[in-house]
Amino acid sequence: MDERISTMPDRHPRLFRLADHTIFVVEEIGRIAKLLGGALAALPSLPRSRRLVVDQMVRLGLESMPLVVVISIFTGAVAAWQAAYQFQGWVPLRYLGEVIGKNVVVELGPVLTSLVVAGRISAAMAAELGTMRVTEQIDALEAMGISPSRYLVMPRFVSATVMLPVAVIFADALAIAGAFLVSNLLLDVSAHTYTMGLRRIFQVRDVVAGLEKAAVFGMFMALMGCHFGMRAEGGAQGVGRATTLAVVTSCVCVLILDYFLTTFLFPIAGV
């Protein structure tokens, strides 16, 4: 080997580490893209795998509902209180309905639900697939001629993409209800004033855009859970590491994607 190349790590350790990290990140992105490609390529076998998809929908969607109910009601309640606090001396409380309705549908519902559900979904996926990987169950699937992309990844990908918007519909409704309770019981805003505010500001386009964001978040959290789970190695410690990475990456992805999706789905005139 050329001496200049062989001594490079010693002479430029920081540069070498940076190059090493860059290569690792590019490789990881490539692996996630390949996983996505595998899941999309397996979509035509959806009818054959419907039992697996329904099973995942129940596990990811329905079993997340208690969590969604609690966080949505309290998110709405806090949003109402915070809005009232900021209105003090500036804006009449009769506008609470407008502010809450818009905030919940375009931002709080999709993002907070996704963040909380991301922890649950991606951790569950990474832990389950990671355990399957380290106990050779994924090897066993492949050895039987069964594609893990079709059998494991695609059902999780589809169910997360479908069930997250469903969870957000419930979250939107419950958060608006939670905000109503605070507005009506503690802040003396009448039901009529609150609902009129909601009606004035309501646009189907906002709700749909919020659900679109949730679907994209669902795709990403399924991809992260499957990716880190399927690459787990080294026993229980490896599964733990995979689970942590899946949760952290999913949450960071939700927040970063939220910015780009928001600027795309909710354009500001003249900007």
Binding site: E128, T131, M132, T135, E136, Q137, D139, A140, L141, E142, A143, M144, G145, I146, S147, Y151
Partner: protein, 248 residues
């Protein structure tokens, strides 16, 4: 027929396979022996394409595994049954679902036919009325036998056994050895086993091959193995800690 030519594999700086050459003829029962960590399981995983070699090739029935992609590779793997060292049962499924998975997922079998085959294969490995149990409810030996029933369920042309008798009591080991032998005689299945249990190896093998330092250093019948002049083979079959094989 399976031909393995110049197979090399390393994990990081650790060289596991260093030019393995081996031909496995149709219908034979070959046992690959070698020390723990010598790369026996890695070699098995290359035969079914679960690992990709750094160099060299594996050719199954005239088709090179490295050239197969996606559905073709999956179809090739369906010619194999694989008993994993730790059984690798799917812990979210019942025993019956585990054994029948290859049949239900790869299509062409009615539910009744799958149930019939699951019962038949479980009976073959000495298990009855366990279809509804989960793998967590089974002992280590029972898990191994369920793994064997799963490998046999699709009636494959090749069966790969990774340490088939590890974790079994001597009586059960003997019955599994007899089963492997009987299957090979009755159905002409090609058996490829890796083990360090010499009693099992002598019983099931038409031919033994020894893997040492990443290469096949000896291949021969059980009788030829007993008489082999190679000191590595002699030390291994005698189970001696003195000789060229490092004990630790």
């Amino acid at each position: 027929m399976i031909e393995i030519r110049g197979l090399h594999k390393r994990f990081g700086s650790h060289r596991v396979l260093d030019g393995v050459d081996l031909t496995i003829r149709d219908g034979e029962s070959i046992v690959i022996i070698g020390q723990s960590g010598s790369g026996k399981s890695v070699l098995l995983k290359h035969i079914i394409g679960l690992l990709q070699p750094d160099a060299g090739r594996v050719v199954v029935d005239g088709q090179e595994l490295a050239a197969l992609r996606g559905p073709e590779l999956l179809a090739m793997r369906r010619r194999f049954g694989y008993l994993f060292q730790g059984a690798a049962l799917f812990d979210s499924m019942t025993v019956g679902e585990n054994v029948g998975l290859g049949l239900s997922e790869n299509g062409g079998f009615s539910r009744e036919e799958i149930q019939r085959r699951v019962k038949e294969k479980l009976a073959l490995v000495g298990l009855r009325d366990v279809e509804h149990l989960k793998p967590a409810d089974l002992s280590g030996g029972m898990r191994k036998r369920v793994g064997l029933a799963r490998a046999l369920a699709t009636e494959p042309a090749y069966i790969l056994y990774d340490e088939p008798t590890t974790g079994l009591d001597p009586v059960m080991s003997d019955s599994i050895n007899r089963l492997i032998r009987e299957l090979q005689h009755r159905t002409g299945t090609t058996s490829i086993a890796v083990t360090h249990d010499m009693k099992s190896a002598y019983f099931i093998a038409d031919r033994l091959a020894m893997l040492y330092q990443g290469r096949i250093v000896f291949a021969g019948t059980p009788q030829e193995t007993r008489n082999a002049a190679n000191p590595v083979v002699q030390q291994f079959i005698e189970g001696s800690s003195e000789g060229p094989l490092a004990a630790l």
